[in-house]
């Protein structure tokens, strides 16, 4: 197991991309709160302001919709942030996107050169052009192969739930050399203000995150665990230790936490402590002891007649 995956195995809780991932200082807080690694905001080849506000809204308790639109300062402006992260000994996954195979690769390589411990390929943002990649197994294969070729560090591929068969996309990424999968990115959604009759988000639609998508993400994890052999990072609606444990039981090697972190900075520590408490109470030594345990049971495959 590479150095990177060893670190993740020790502390299988990771900050998800796009939440508190603009500057090293918030990522440092999350890391110090107990995360094994942080994923930065998705970084592209050039500065991008993204969509106007409203772009992030809480629509149900603990459920959010966003269309940030991949706002980011561009990789060249972000290098200093990566260096600060590494100076603070923070295990850093840089989330990367581009507008072509070339720019994806360029950004990934620049991030690697700046000291990133791993790259997460964002091919799945539902409210941006790039979502087309993760909807197509061939495109996924091509992008992953190309980026992987230039990397010495591990490559994680982040997938979307907005597809008919996430399994075939994951297999494609695995075949192309991905070292791990993150599932899931946000779920396509829209909220309309009935007074003005217009969609609330400036972009119109956006991605659903938080509590509402947790059972959707757990199902994807359960399905993926049967199909791919590389580690899968579970992502979507982890707010409690219980939510995290569900992911491990469904097959996650690690859990990413995003939306929940809008709360106090100690939210991540509370989640981790509660998940650790579960191990203790149930006499497990580590999270790896429970990975995939939900697959041990027979479920009723055919209905009763």
């Amino acid at each position: 197991m590479s150095e990177f995956f060893k670190k993740i195995a020790e502390k299988p809780f990771i900050l998800a991309s796009g939440i508190l991932g603009v500057s090293y200082s918030s990522m440092k807080r999350i890391f110090e709160g107990g995360a094994g690694a942080v994923v930065t905001k998705s970084i592209g080849p050039i500065l991008r302001k993204g969509y106007k506000n409203p772009s992030i809204i809480e629509i149900l308790p603990g459920t959010f919709i966003n269309s940030v639109g991949l706002a980011n300062p561009g990789i060249d402006n972000f290098i200093s942030e990566i260096k600060e992260l590494k100076q603070n000994n923070i295990t850093t996954i840089v989330s990367v996107f581009g507008d072509s195979i070339e720019t994806y690769t360029q950004v990934a390589v620049k991030a690697q050169d700046a000291g990133a411990d791993a790259i997460e390929l964002n091919i799945s943002c539902p409210h941006a052009e790039i979502s087309i990649i993760c909807q197509n197994k061939q495109l996924t294969y091509e992008y992953v192969v190309a980026v992987k070729k230039e990397l010495k560090i591990p490559l994680i591929v982040k997938l979307s739930p907005n597809v008919t068969d996430i399994g075939e996309i994951a297999l494609s990424a695995e075949k192309a050399g991905a070292d791990a999968i993150t599932a899931i990115n946000t779920v396509n959604a829209m909220v309309i203000d009935i007074e003005t009759q217009r969609p609330i988000l400036s972009h119109g639609s956006g991605g659903l995150s938080g509590k509402a998508i947790h059972p959707i993400a757990v199902k994807k994890m359960f399905d993926l665990y049967k199909i791919v052999r590389i580690p899968i990072f579970g992502c979507g609606g982890v707010f409690t230790g219980e939510d995290a444990i569900e992911f491990f039981l469904a097959g996650a090697s690690a859990v990413q936490i995003g939306s929940a972190l809008y709360q106090d900075y100690n939210a991540i520590t509370n989640i981790i402590n509660s998940a650790k408490k579960y191990l203790e109470v149930h006499n497990y030594k580590s999270f790896s002891d429970i990975v995939g345990n939900a697959h041990k049971f027979e479920t009723q495959e055919a209905p009763d007649f």
């Binding site: 508190l20 500057s23 905001k41 991008r48 302001k49 106007k52 402006n77 003005t196 809008y262």
Partner: protein
């Protein structure tokens, strides 16, 4: 808290100065239509104000009362504030919030100590409910309003209702067209020295305004060992602690959540304060 932006009808618009207007709206309809639990705002908290089709921007509450009339006081500086200026009474505007921490207000005025409130221009907005509260608590205050020029003075009438000009309420203009000629910081410095000479102890300075002004005020306070609370401005997307755009280095403090009111203890650690902020992409820019 109103989490999803909700439209509310503007009930009153007051022109405070050439480019500053106060908009008032009653939020009772929102609370009842969407069964939202109500909590009184704290001075210093802010709203995200949505002008549909244009933008959604942070605005401090410049007033609120028991009847649930809330107000914001807006300076026209760009696209969204311009569109706000075009609105008329009965027009709709979207709001969510209030967000942020609000000022820490002493529970009573022990030892008869003195608090000083310093606002720079539109920075007076969140200070108005603070001043009302301090007066209600019978806390001795001095208010300094600093503006560039006479035409920019706002809230004078309101403040003169409660405070005596040139005794507990001072105005400074950069060009000397009204009151003290010079920067509010200089006026502040001289008032402090005077009060200390008189043997008075100043135990708290509250401020909102241009960051350079607050930066200097803070350093004057440090020199005199006075606690300081300043309301910071940073680019805001979510307004409630999720996106990370408004984060300060190296503490990770979120201006929208742990702030916007930051005290001396936090400001001492803060490498951004008075130095740099971030644009909507997250890129650092020097102030």
């Amino acid at each position: 808290m109103i989490k999803k932006p909700r439209m509310v009808q503007i009930s009153e618009i007051v022109q405070e100065s050439k480019d500053v207007k106060t908009f008032t709206f009653n939020i009772k309809s929102i609370l009842s239509n969407y069964s939202i639990q109500y909590q009184d705002p704290t001075p210093g908290e802010f709203l995200m104000v949505w002008v549909p089709g244009i933008d959604e921007i942070p605005m401090s509450l410049s007033g609120f009362n028991n009847n649930k009339d809330w107000s914001i006081t807006v300076k026209e500086v760009g696209e969204c504030t311009e569109m706000l200026f075009n609105l008329e009474k009965s027009d709709l505007v979207g709001i969510r919030g209030p967000f942020g921490n609000g000022f820490q207000i002493p529970e009573f005025n022990f030892n008869n100590q003195l608090n000083i409130v310093v606002g720079g221009g539109i920075g007076m907005a969140p200070l108005i409910p603070l001043i009302s509260e301090l007066i209600k608590l019978k806390i001795k205050i001095i208010v300094i309003e600093g503006v560039k020029s006479k035409e920019e003075i706002i809230f004078k009438k309101y403040l003169k209702n409660y405070l005596i000009e040139n005794e507990t309420f001072y105005i400074s203009t950069d060009d000397g067209s009204y009151g003290y000629k010079g920067f509010a910081t200089d006026l502040f410095n001289s008032i402090i020295e005077k009060e200390i000479e008189k043997g008075n102890k100043i135990n708290q300075v509250y401020s909102c305004g241009p960051e350079q002004m607050m930066y200097e005020l803070f350093h004057i306070c440090e020199k005199f060992n006075i606690s300081f609370q300043g309301s910071l401005e940073r680019m805001m997307r979510c307004g409630f602690g999720m996106c990370g755009l408004c984060v300060l280095d190296p503490s990770g403090i979120r201006v929208c959540r742990e702030g916007p009111i930051l005290d001396s203890k936090i400001l001492r650690t803060c490498t951004d304060f008075g130095k740099y902020n971030r644009d909507f992409s997250g890129k650092k820019n020097t102030i």
